[in-house]
Symmetry: C2
Subunit: 221 residues, 2 copies
Amino acid sequence: MSTRIVEVRKGILKKNDELAAALRGRFGAAGVYTVNLVSSPGTGKTAFLERTLSTLRERGLRTAALVGDLETDNDAQRLARSGVPVRQINTHGRCHLEAEMIGTHLEGWTLDGLDYLFIENVGNLVCPASYDLGEQLRVVLMSVTEGEDKPRKYPGIFNSADLAVITKYDLAGPCDFDLAAASANIHAVRPGVAILTTSAKTGEGMDAWLDALAGLRARGA
Amino acid sequence: MSTRIVEVRKGILKKNDELAAALRGRFGAAGVYTVNLVSSPGTGKTAFLERTLSTLRERGLRTAALVGDLETDNDAQRLARSGVPVRQINTHGRCHLEAEMIGTHLEGWTLDGLDYLFIENVGNLVCPASYDLGEQLRVVLMSVTEGEDKPRKYPGIFNSADLAVITKYDLAGPCDFDLAAASANIHAVRPGVAILTTSAKTGEGMDAWLDALAGLRARGA
């Protein structure tokens, strides 16, 4: 039985990879830099994205967002307040986004003229690691409230990320968060990856994150 | 393709349900009350369980624990400090525990004379909902740092739980946590379920939790 599951999963992943490659080509042609945000539920992806969208708007950049959840359009409603185009993807029980869902939810949208497209994945530290969404950059978020050892417990998703962001840094004190230990754990599973600290609440670290993003986009990394 | 996945999954779940029923019979015969703890990664399941085990020990009760993670035996090491038998289950990529893993990891253990067996599931708000582990009680944990709307976004796991525990309550202030809103969201997906607030750090609410647990065990609920 378990062999069969693996085969079915491989089949799904192969199809997903093909669709993701096509999406990546489309994003490249339109000149839009696409970012896939992955994390545990409750890491603060939506608050981080909300502040990211509004700050990029102040900088005169054009953005859009797709947000995944099993149910509800709470996040799309929150993000729409940033004044940018947002669409909710409801997975109805699936624990991750897939490339096909991205393609479907981009229908009717013009990507030309867009600087950034953000995809907020379903909150899950396991399965989203395996699904390429055609993004140019995968960012893993981890909050100071989650415990410094998460990268070692969920190595797959940290290993698949191009950048790590530590969120809710305003709570680092009350949570006795140990940045050196967390960084060492991230680097143990993803050597050399850049690690940024942010607080969507206070704004701390948001400019550094957006500068880093602009640099990556400029280099086409 | 998607039909085939559903069929394979149904086959797995049927097999899992059979194994879970056998485990439940075994737990009942041995007089051990088994509790399955489910939550997002970083909700503080291990800290909660650590304090639960040491307090039950002080109360003269005999406990044991099985703890699930993709990788590492960090949690088993932490929990072993409570002086109770603990075994780590590494799922190596699986995002949930299954009944078969429980059976395998109980080998060589005598359940007779044990009052409670705790199972700490893999941190994940989606797939653990579908896998019965033979437990008598399923407890969903949610921390004050995660956002009050998690139950609506992940209704399956909250709906499958017999009891809800809100953790890290010492951080409720710094997190502007709204207990009434969180409770309303839990009750929207699981009407009438009991909701407790706890802090493993300060000990707040731990006695109430253990009293509730003793009551449930006594009633065989």
